[in-house]
C-alpha cells in the first residue's frame, strides 16, 4: 500500500506540474497578445488562482466535477484524483505564467526581429528561437516550483486522494501514533532531495559555459545536504528568479 502512496504523490505532482507548464505557457502567450480580451483573460486567471488558497481551489474543483471516474481513452482516473491533479495544475499554471513570461522577457527583442526579418512566423520564432533561449531562465525557478508541488500535492488528501500524506493520516487516525508523520516527512525529504540532484544536473547542462564547474553526482548529492535540501541556488535568494516567497504548503 505504502509504495502506491509514494507513487501517487510522484505522479500527481508530475502530471500537475506538466499541466501547469502548459497552462502557464498558454497564459504567458495570451498575456503578450495584441488582442485585448486574451490579455484580460490571462490576467483574470492569474488574479483568481494566485489570490485564493489552493485548498479552496481543490475543494471547489472536486465539487464541480461530476461522476466517480474520469476516462481518457484507454485509462481512467478516480474522480478525486482527476480533480486533485486539475486543481494543482491550474493553480500552478498561474505561477508558471509569471516565470515563463519573465523568461521570454529576458530574451532580447532583436531575436524576434531577426526571426521576422527572415520571414519566420510568430509561432516558429517562439518555438525555435525564443523559448529555447528562455528555457535557461525558466528552468531554475521551474525546478523550485516542482519541489513545492511535491509538498503541496499533499493537500489533495482533503478530497480523499490516496497519497503519501493521506496514507500517514490513515495510520495515525487508526492508531493515534505520530510515527507515521515522521516517516512521511522523511519520504518527502527523499523525494525533494532526489529532485534537487536531477535539477542541479539539468541546470548544469543548460549552463555549462556559465558555471564551468563540473560536479560529480556524489558531490552534487553532498551539496544538496549542505546547501539545504531541495532548494536550488537561485531559490536561496529571496528576490531571485525562483525566490518568490510563497507560503502555500
Amino acid at each position: 500500500m505504502f509504495v502506491h502512496a509514494l507513487w501517487a504523490t510522484v505522479y500527481i505532482s508530475i502530471v500537475a506540474q506538466v499541466l501547469g507548464i502548459i497552462l502557464g505557457l498558454i497564459a504567458a502567450l495570451m498575456r503578450m497578445s495584441n488582442f485585448r480580451p486574451l490579455r484580460f483573460l490571462s490576467g483574470a486567471y492569474v488574479l483568481v488562482f494566485r489570490g485564493t488558497p489552493v485548498l479552496v481551489q481543490i475543494m471547489f474543483i472536486w465539487l464541480i466535477i461530476p461522476g466517480r471516474t474520469v476516462g481518457f481513452g484507454a485509462f481512467t482516473l478516480k474522480q478525486e484524483v482527476f480533480a486533485g491533479i486539475l486543481a494543482l495544475g491550474v493553480n500552478e499554471g498561474a505561477y508558471m505564467r509569471e516565470i515563463i513570461r519573465a523568461g521570454i522577457d529576458s530574451i532580447d527583442k532583436g531575436q524576434m526581429e531577426a526571426g521576422k526579418s527572415l520571414g519566420m512566423r510568430y509561432g516558429a520564432i517562439m518555438r525555435r528561437i525564443v523559448l529555447p533561449q528562455a528555457a535557461r531562465v525558466i528552468v531554475p525557478p521551474l525546478g523550485n516550483e516542482f519541489n513545492n508541488m511535491m509538498k503541496t500535492s499533499s493537500l489533495v488528501y482533503i478530497i480523499g486522494v490516496y497519497e503519501l500524506f493521506s496514507d500517514a493520516e490513515q495510520v495515525f487516525s487508526s492508531s493515534g501514533n505520530v510515527a507515521p508523520f515522521i516517516a512521511v516527512a522523511f519520504w518527502y525529504l527523499v523525494l525533494t532531495s532526489i529532485w534537487s540532484i536531477v535539477q542541479a544536473s539539468i541546470e548544469r547542462r543548460l549552463a555549462v559555459s556559465e558555471h564551468g564547474d563540473e560536479l560529480s553526482l556524489r558531490e552534487r548529492a553532498v551539496a544538496v545536504w549542505t546547501e539545504g535540501g531541495g532548494v536550488s541556488r537561485l531559490g536561496d535568494w529571496p528576490f531571485g528568479a525562483g525566490g518568490r516567497w510563497r507560503g502555500r504548503s
Binding site: 526581429e113 531577426a114 526579418s117 527572415l118 520571414g119 510568430y122
Partner: protein, 258 residues
Amino acid sequence: MTSSLEGLVLRATEVHKHFGRLHILKGVSLDVRPRETVCIIGTSGSGKTTFLRCINHLEKIDGGSIEVNGHPIGYRMKNGRLVEDSERNISRQRTEIGFVFQRFNLFPHKTALENVTEAPIQVRGVSKQEAISDAEKLLARVGLADKKDTYPGKLSGGQQQRVAIARALAMKPALMLFDEPTSALDPEVTGEVLDVMEELAHEGTTMIVVTHEMGFAKRAADRVVMMDEGVIIEEGSPEHFFESPTHERTKAFLSKIL
C-alpha cells in the same frame, strides 16, 4: 536602364511615420532599381533606422506606400481601403527582404551554420542537405568556412556580422537592407565586413546601406541619399557628395564625419 519595364525593386512613396506624437518620417520617397546600391547618410535621429524598419514592416507606416518588387508591403486593399495584411502574408513578403542589424542579432543557441540554414529550412522548406551545402558556400563567401560549427558567442563582432550577412543572403532576397552594419564593431574589424558588402555590391546585389563609412560609399554606392529630420534633403552620386554637396546641412554633416 531606368525603363519602367525593368521594374523597381523598391518604390517608397511619401512614407510617414509617427511614434506617439513625434513625427519621425515626414514623407520619404525613394526608388531603388535592380542591382543598385544606395547609401543613406544623415545625423543621428534623422530616421534612417526607422525608414529601413518600415521597408520590411518591422514598423507600421502611417502614410504613403512601400512596394518591393511591385508588391505593397504590410498592407493590402480591402473594399477600397488599405488594411494591414495578415501575419502570414507579411512574413512571406519579408522573405524577399534581407535585413542586417547594427547589433547582428544572431541566434546565440545555434552554430554559425545553423543560423544560416534556419530560415531556408523552416520558411522555404528547403531540404536539410541542400540548405547546409548552400550555407557552407555562403559562409565561404564571407570568409568563415572554418567557423561553421562555432557558436556566435565565440566569434568576434566582425565575424558575427559576416555570419549575419550570410544568414540574410541565404533567403536569396531581392533587396538587402543594412543598418549601420559596422558601427557596433571595433575599428580593426570594420574592414572585413565592408569588404564583403563591397563585393556584394559589385556582384549586383540590390542593397540599401545606412552607413557613415564614406570610403565604402565612394567605392560601392551608385547613389547616396542624405536624410535630415525625417526627409531626404539631398540625393546624388558619391562624387557629388564629396565634391559639391549643395545643402548646408549636408555640408555641415560631411565636414563632421570626413
